[in-house]
């Protein structure tokens, strides 16, 4: 007689055991993806989906106390139109295409000067930037039993930039579909032709450059009981080529020089996501943590909490808060009092030490086969949000808000 466990009622393990046992029956399917709690439809469930989203990204002005001119300066804004079509191709495949059209305008940080007291003040580029971006990204998935394979390809075009990417991804469900192992590789190539490169106005600005990026990731998702999913993935990215910002400069002992960063970069990111269904409130909690480290010396932490609340009459509300903190790149300084032996210079606020906090609220409403959404996000960065205290804050640390509205039609 086989050993039989004594009858017992362990917490939650009961559902896990029943689920594992039920899914072991041939022909039974897991629906763990329903736990994702996404209030918006997806092509997984619907035959065809059309999605349009408009976003307005608006950076707050930089205060006169932080600029070299002593005047407030407007910054960047982006108007973005995104279109998505997702459709099933038979019972085992689906295809998603995303197209984006954006117009960008405004001023951006150029370089930083020390004022009379040595405090860094920002020189802005002037409202000179007007650009237009078009991008297309296509993804095809096909399921072969427990294995899903995906092919990705994309193209992005601006006046001064062209990028093309491709990738392969795969995922494998096992352990009665309670566990999913996934992995992927990607390659991107970028060409840069900066505006007014090597011109009489900007003689030191490069005329052409390129870089490439190779990335790979592996991840594991585990259903823990009927209402909890834990995902964890690690990605590694290698970049090589011209990785500096052709429009930025750095102040070095009375002169300005081109932004100059290393010719390669190795990046590691580890992301862990928890999805917890809160059945009593008909809500899903998303808790994410990301650790990031690169060989330029930046270590960053991101923590995000989102609450997907289903409401009566097909409404849903999603408040979300995200916190971010990073250390600086080794070669970063707001300005340089002496030339550096390694020849590396960057005063870009994105390589400076800082922290950031963003809050957003999304409202979703379904009307028949239409889904409407409105979202607002406010983002603010500064030394105050950083894990470690910061001696000298970069004057260009940004605040922005994003308004977006979307409409989805399913067929």
């Amino acid at each position: 007689m086989p050993p039989k466990k004594n009858p017992s009622v362990p917490l939650n393990q009961a559902l896990l055991a029943l689920t594992a046992s039920a899914l072991a029956i041939p022909g039974m399917s897991a629906q763990a993806q329903d736990l994702a709690g996404d209030p918006m439809p997806s092509a997984q469930r619907d035959s065809t989906l059309l999605d349009y989203r408009f976003s307005y990204y608006d950076e707050g002005h930089i205060a006169g106390s932080k600029t070299s001119s002593g005047q407030d300066s407007e910054r960047y804004n982006v108007e973005s139109h995104q279109f998505r079509i997702a459709t099933r191709l038979g019972s085992k495949a689906d295809l998603t295409a995303d197209a984006t059209v954006e117009t960008m305008s405004g001023a951006s940080p150029w370089f930083i000067l020390p004022d009379a007291k040595g405090k860094p003040v920002q020189v802005m580029s002037g409202a000179s930037i007007h650009d237009f971006r078009q991008a297309l990204q296509v993804r095809a998935n096909e399921r072969f039993g427990a294995v899903t394979g995906s092919v990705l390809a994309g193209y992005s075009n601006e006046r001064d930039y062209r990028g093309a990417n491709g990738g392969l991804e795969g995922s494998w469900d096992f352990n009665n579909k309670l566990t999913t192992l996934s992995g992927g590789v990607g390659y991107t190539h970028n060409d840069l032709d900066p505006t007014e490169g090597a011109s009489t106005r900007f003689p030191t600005r490069i005329a052409h450059a390129d870089n490439y990026e190779v990335t790979g990731y592996a991840g594991l998702a585990q259903v823990l009981g009927g209402e909890t999913v834990l995902q964890s993935s690690v990605s590694f990215t290698y970049q090589n080529g011209y990785l500096s910002d052709p429009y930025k400069m750095a102040y070095v002992a009375g002169n300005t020089v081109n932004d100059a960063r290393p010719g390669n970069r190795r990046k590691l990111a580890w992301i862990t996501r928890l999805r917890q269904n809160v059945a009593a409130l008909d809500a899903v909690v998303h808790l994410d943590y990301r650790y990031y480290h690169d060989d330029w010396g930046i270590t960053a932490h991101t923590a995000e909490l989102a609450w997907y609340q289903t409401l009566p009459w097909s409404w849903a509300l999603v408040p979300r808060v995200r916190w971010y903190s990073q250390s600086q790149a080794d070669f970063y300084q707001p300005y340089y009092n002496a030339a550096q032996n390694n020849g590396l210079y960057s005063s870009d606020y994105r390589l400076s030490p800082f922290g950031a906090l963003s809050e957003s609220l999304g409202v979703y409403k379904r009307l028949g086969s239409w889904n409407l959404s409105l979202r607002y996000e406010h983002y603010s960065s500064g030394g105050a949000y950083s894990i470690r205290s910061i001696e000298v804050e970069n004057p260009a640390l940004v605040r922005f808000q994003v308004f977006s509205a979307g409409i989805v039609k399913t067929f």
């Binding site: 466990k5 009858p7 017992s8 689920t19 041939p26 039974m28 469930r45």
Partner: protein
């Protein structure tokens, strides 16, 4: 798209396949696939059929050689073992023999001695299940798959419809429902939940956009003597009907799990049942003996106890 409905009898109760399809021919095709799957499982696990696996097993009781289970039956036996373990022995597919003393048609309360005579034949712990070999060691023991094959059939039929290309609809077997998918506009189905004291009326409606819902209640088969209700939900350890809850509905990704959980909750009773469902984390709606509703699933009570609909 139009809605098409197909009703038929199977597994001892009314069945319905309702689905959205482009035309009648497509709907006919999808419904036929669902019906074929349900009839296949009925044929295989009915205890009234001479050629069913259940009959084969029950005929083998007392034969130490036992019988060999096919892959599907073996997986269902594994599931029964898990449910028995996880329910503290309350979900027990050997308890069907109690029907020899509990005759719900004759409406007779058996004597304790009659029940005591049956109890030695009950208990999954007495079964020898060494996959793929199954031995019922005592003559007179029986297995009854009726406690969960109906819900399993709903899952399988819904999956068969999806495999055939159906996207929107549900499969219902006597109140247990597995969704094929939400309405074409993504709206959830509004599922009427039976009023335990007026079973053709709805007590509440529960919106369901994915997964399944199953219900268990003391209204399914019962009789009353001297004001006491004796339901078909029998505790396998005592042999007596359980009292406490009138009805339980559970929402789960699979109808099989929803059905098992609602049955176990009924067997656990008024306090332990809802608490256990809460621990499982499954959304549920419980109706207490006094008719009070409690639970964690979004629902709308139906004030005048309207008709039992699915819309």
């Amino acid at each position: 798209m139009e809605v098409f409905s197909y009703r038929f009898k199977a597994m001892g109760g009314p069945c319905e396949v309702r689905l959205h399809a482009d035309d009648r021919a497509q709907a006919d095709r999808h419904a036929a696939v669902a019906k074929a799957e349900i009839l296949r499982l009925e044929q295989r696990y009915s205890r009234y059929r001479e050629d069913s696996f259940t009959t084969l097993v029950n005929r083998s009781a007392g034969d130490a050689r036992g019988i060999e289970a096919d892959a599907e039956s073996a997986a269902l036996l594994d599931y029964a073992q898990t449910a028995w373990e996880q329910s503290g022995g309350l979900f027990d597919i050997t308890s069907g023999v109690l029907r020899r003393v509990w005759d719900f048609k004759a409406r007779r309360v058996p004597a304790q001695a009659e029940i005591d005579g049956i109890l030695p034949l009950i208990g999954w712990q007495r079964v020898r299940w060494e996959r793929p070999r199954l031995v019922l060691p005592l003559a007179g023991m029986e297995l009854d798959f009726g406690g969960y094959v109906k819900e399993y059939a709903a899952d399988r039929a819904a999956q068969a419809c999806r495999d055939a290309g159906a996207r929107h609809g549900f499969v219902e077997l006597a109140g247990d429902i597995a969704l094929i998918g939400a309405h074409p506009d993504g709206a959830p189905w509004q599922i009427g939940v039976r009023h335990p004291r007026a079973p053709e009326q709805a007590l509440a409606t529960i919106p369901l956009a994915a997964g399944a819902i199953a219900s268990s209640g003391d209204y399914e088969r019962y009789f009353e003597v001297d004001g006491l209700r004796y339901s078909h939900l029998l505790n396998p350890k005592t042999g007596w009907p359980v009292r406490g809850l009138s009805a339980v509905s559970v929402v789960a990704p699979q109808c099989l799990i929803a059905g098992t959980a609602s049955t176990i909750a009924m067997l656990k009773g008024a306090e332990a049942g809802p608490r256990w469902l809460g621990e499982l984390g499954l959304r549920h709606l419980c109706v207490a003996a006094d008719g009070v509703l409690a639970g964690t699933v979004e629902h709308r009570t139906v004030p005048a106890h309207g008709p039992l609909t699915r819309t």
